[in-house]
């Protein structure tokens, strides 16, 4: 129930993000979701795309530092308390959320959130046990 996320190291300078977007557009890669973590000096761009291998390869070729990480796409009931319920379960199991961001598309009546946990396998197990729905990578990339 894990999905792959591509991360890119970006210097904090004008036009760098546009460059990444341009390279991906050129290669016909569709960005499904993204988040940009920034500090005063650098940023880390995290991407869910429809073609991980191609993205990684093409960005590397263009001189970017690229990483691949496992994240979990969780279906969150789209109503008050939906997110809280999930975070509560994780908290009680002692799992930390490193970061999270929203997926663009809904899945039925659910919002989709991308989670990066400190212990991914355990998180998946706990969420499963509590009947929380997740979306596997394959489905996610082409949703």
């Amino acid at each position: 129930m894990k999905a792959e996320q591509i991360s890119v190291f970006l210097e904090n300078k004008a036009g760098r993000l546009a460059e990444v977007a341009g390279i991906l557009a050129e290669a016909g890669v569709n960005i499904r979701a993204l988040s940009l973590a920034d500090t005063s000096d650098f940023g880390v761009l995290r991407l869910i795309v429809d073609n991980n291998e191609k993205t990684k390869e093409i960005l590397k070729k263009r001189g970017f530092t690229v990483g691949k990480t496992n994240v979990v796409a969780v279906k969150v009931t789209d109503r008050p308390g939906g997110l809280h319920n999930i975070l509560d379960i994780l908290y009680n199991a002692g799992i930390n959320v490193e970061y999270m961001y929203a997926f663009v598309q809904q899945s039925g009546n659910n919002a989709v959130m991308i989670f990066r946990f400190d212990n991914t396998d355990k998180a998946v197990e706990i969420l499963n046990k509590n009947g929380i729905q997740m979306i596997d990578g394959k489905t996610l990339y082409t949703m």
């Binding site: 996320q5 991360s7 190291f9 970006l10 210097e11 973590a37 500090t39 000096d41 650098f42 880390v44 995290r46 001189g63 970017f64 530092t65 690229v66 990483g67 990480t69 490193e98 970061y99 990066r116």
Partner: protein, 433 residues
Amino acid sequence: MIYDMEFETLPREALSAIQLRRLQATIQRVYATVPFYRQKFDESGVKPGDIRSLEDLKRLPFTTKQDLRDNYPFGMFAVPMDNVVRIHASSGTTGKPTVVGYTARDITTWASMMARSLAAGGAWQDDIIHNAYGYGLFTGGLGVHYGAEKLGASVIPVSGGNTKRQIVIMKDFGPTILTATPSYTLHLAEVATEMGVDFRNLNFKFGIFGAEPWSERMREEIERKTGMVAVDIYGLSEVMGPGVAIECHEAKKGLHIFEDHFIAEIINPATGEVLPEGETGELVFTTITKEAFPVIRYRTRDITSLNSEPCICGRTLTRMNKISGRTDDMLIIRGVNVFPSQIESVLMEMDEVEPHYQLFVDRKGNLDTLTINVELGEKAFSDEVKVLQDISQKISKNIKDYLGVSAKVKLVEPKAITRSEGKAVRVIDNRKI
């Protein structure tokens, strides 16, 4: 005031005659007692007897910092150790420090040069000198100290650091002269303000500042914030220590070189050719009275020019302009000598980064800042920001531990640092000095 009226106001011809006599004696002596000089002179085909005029000085080979390192620690001493009464060493540089020695007479000479300097900078016997230069292997503290005593002033040997206590002493003891690095002086002024003490209401009249390059703008700022007249002092341990040259407080326009003890030349750093007066180049010193550690045509790597026009203070001594830069890549950051190669070796020991880096030196407000751009290694990259921030903090800490200087570390993308085919441009110094 002029401390040594006779020697500081000699007619130029008389001064030249003294210089030649002392130069010839020095050359004879180093040839006889220092194997390094004998070998270098022999290789250049110059015998001590060939030095018949001051013009002949340029026939002698240069001495470099590397030569001093090669003869570490005592290889350049011209007297047996029983005659050496003091040893100083330069602040940490690449590898070994440079070690210098003094005979009892050298110490006396140095004290006289410093007494002259303090007097030129506005001090006299009734003054109280607050000496905030560091005491120790560094020549600053003890150099000023002996000079102050020689002059007959009262000296407070407060040394560097413990800034709040210094402010209390300034308030309670009422010193009239401050000797310190210019950057520390501005720090003192800031701390005083924090403590509710207005520096301008203290008893200070003159400040004698040196050991690091500083600009006219910094002088204006110091004078405005402290209410004292700020003069520049120059020296380096290889030549003696502080007191090689001093600005007079009357003109504050160039530093008088004590030419009856040191001969200054300006050379083209690339060719070694001696440049005519007024042209800018590398400052080279020959000591002509030192016993334990004479240096012949020592390349200081400091960039300046000379000016022998008469000065309003009455001294006939040639003036050197404020140092405008350095020929080598040594950086002086907040008084600490930093070589790019030292930073390189710290980075080389870390797996997280590539050995591609660039140093940016800026002056923000009064303080020098060092920023290190370094390329992040592929394997160290993480999608978590905190992991990357830990890497830059670890580098900062290592730099601080090894070099004693704080630096801001900025991780950059691979290949972000321009590769050069020749010598890499490692240092970008944006300080306006």
